[in-house]
């Protein structure tokens, strides 16, 4: 509003440098993916899309991508539905142990991923289940639920029950009042919950790596490829994912960016 509150030059300078350093690795990554040769250097030597073309030959990446997307979509949908049920129970009904229940349902958030992975490994191998699709589905539902639930509960708390009650007093059945009045209102919240769940599943590495017996996920495939190969194919794939994230954020900007800039993570 005035020169009084505008920031100090030092703050601007250091801030810009830090933000620059923060994006630098991603810029390098994208640059590397356009190398003409096999070296992973930045600035790229020459310009080519050959490493992107090369992705088509990598059946492993394609399979991993399919599985990862399926897991992320599936676990996001399930988590949002399950959270909606639990969220409604917790925010709309009073019963003893309500706060405790919420704490319990959110408790996986503070359990380190490596511990979660270890627990799944021990249990599933004891049960003789060595099917990655089954185990990963189970794992991803468990780890995405608390992320979704946290967002859904906040959305439901922001929209108080009084609106539903008003609708009911006008003759709507409780179920109709909920789906007709509340669900449309918290739709942005549900979408945000789905986005968080999706991303949590999509990028999960540490817990998932304990369960990749016969199939693998994209982050793990990238990790393995970085460890074992020395060309920019992984950089090309990673750059594609970064581009997808950018598009995704541009599309969901309204729900996610504002939400996060307002400080509600």
């Amino acid at each position: 509003m005035s020169s009084w509150r505008s920031s100090h030059l030092l703050v601007n300078f250091v801030g810009s440098v830090l933000v620059g350093l923060l994006v630098l690795p991603i810029v390098v990554l994208i640059g590397v993916s356009f190398n003409a040769g096999v070296e992973q250097v930045f600035p790229p030597h020459g310009f080519s899309l050959r490493w992107y073309a090369n992705l088509a030959n990598r059946q492993g990446f394609l399979d991993a991508a399919k599985l990862t997307l399926a897991l992320a979509l599936g676990s996001a949908c399930i988590s949002v539905l399950v959270s909606l049920g639990a969220g409604v129970a917790i925010t709309r009904y009073r019963f003893p142990g309500r706060d405790f229940l919420l704490t319990l349902l959110l408790s996986p958030l503070i359990v380190p991923q490596v511990v979660v992975g270890m627990a799944f490994l021990v249990t599933l191998s004891a049960l003789g289940i060595f099917n990655s699709i089954v185990s990963l589905s189970l794992l991803h539902c468990v780890i995405t639920l608390p992320f979704a639930l946290r967002v859904v509960v906040v959305a439901l708390q922001v929209h108080p029950a009084s609106i539903e009650e008003a609708a009911q007093s006008l003759g709507a059945s409780p179920v109709r009042a909920f789906f007709g009045v509340t669900v449309p209102q918290i739709a942005p919240g549900l979408l945000a919950a789905g986005v968080f769940a999706f991303v949590t599943s999509f990028e999960n590495f540490t817990a998932s790596q304990f369960l990749v017996w016969d199939r693998t996920t994209l982050p793990i495939a990238i990790y393995t490829s970085v460890q074992t190969e020395n060309d920019p194919t992984a950089a090309a794939l990673s750059s594609l994912i970064v581009a997808a994230v950018i598009v995704f954020i541009a599309v969901f900007n309204r729900f996610v960016v504002r939400h996060m800039l307002a400080g509600r993570t």
Partner: protein, 274 residues
């Protein structure tokens, strides 16, 4: 209460698996099928050997100083955003959100390309004549530290930004009208009021860094493994489930204690609000 049932089912699965792991951590390595016996051998082995124990203390130490660095840099970025025009704020915010939503494995890989022997950093320093030979950063603890800070910065910036946004402009005006220079206003009003945000960021970041796997795995290259790498290697390379489970239980207990302790001491900061 049919509504909560699915959620309860999911959480019950989770706790069942956690208990199986705890049971496994007390089961002898050479257990015979069908016979239940309990032993402390895995815990004894983990806690008695400074080699294994060192993974935990090493992880505690590196994540401690990395959390500190993350907090300082994160504060700078958040404060810069807070003081900037809405356009700058949106641009920097978008950068952070892209980071936030990009898988850690990709961000670690990107840092790897930056600090590698022929990476951009070394090439720039060589070209500028600052160094004569490439620095060995990749596969050292320094690379791990850089990666941890880089990857966890968004977790720090958002809560701090939220606490800055929550400070009414009137408080700064009041402070200035009472004779405080800009720096004094920052130090006596703004900074103390953002301590809750810093605390929230510190808890998340410390827990995240303490138990990270990808960053030490990729940027440490086996030379700077942390506790999560130990657990994974024991379980998946040498199939010592009992030992890995014990290490996981110890890690869980330690991190839970840290979260509890930090939350307790940070709760004191905001006593004034009650």
């Amino acid at each position: 209460m049919a509504l909560v049932l699915p959620a309860l089912l999911v959480i019950a699965t989770f706790f069942a698996m956690m208990s199986t792991m705890v049971v496994a951590s007390f089961s002898p390595a050479d257990a015979v099928q069908g016979i239940r016996t309990y032993t402390l051998e895995h815990y004894r082995r983990f806690l008695a050997s400074s080699f294994y124990w060192g993974y935990l203390t090493g992880s505690l130490w590196i994540s401690l100083y990395c959390t500190f660095i993350t907090a300082v840099l994160g504060y700078f970025i958040a404060y810069f955003m807070f003081r900037s025009s809405s356009v700058v704020r949106l641009v920097v915010g978008s950068v952070l959100i892209v980071q936030f939503f990009t898988a850690y494995v990709i961000r670690s890989y990107a840092v790897m390309l930056l600090v590698g022997k022929t990476g951009f950093l070394n090439q720039t320093l060589l070209a500028l004549g600052i160094i004569d030979a490439p620095l060995r950063i990749l596969f050292t603890q320094a690379a791990v530290a850089i990666g941890l800070v880089q990857v966890s910065l968004p977790f720090m910036v958002f809560p701090i930004l939220a606490s800055l946004n929550a400070i009414p402009t009137n408080l700064e005006m009041a402070s200035a009208s009472l004779g405080a220079s800009r720096f004094k206003t920052f130090w006596t009003i703004v900074f103390p009021l953002t301590l809750p945000g810093i605390a929230a960021g510190v808890v998340v970041v410390y827990l995240f860094e303490l138990t990270s796997y990808i960053v030490p795995g990729m940027l440490g290259g086996g030379y700077a493994d942390m506790i999560a790498n130990l657990i994974y290697n024991k379980a998946m390379r040498s199939f010592e489930y009992g030992f890995a489970a014990a290490a996981a239980v110890v890690t869980l207990v330690v991190s839970a204690a840290i979260v509890y302790g930090l939350n307790r001491s940070f709760a004191r900061i905001t006593r004034y609000a009650r």
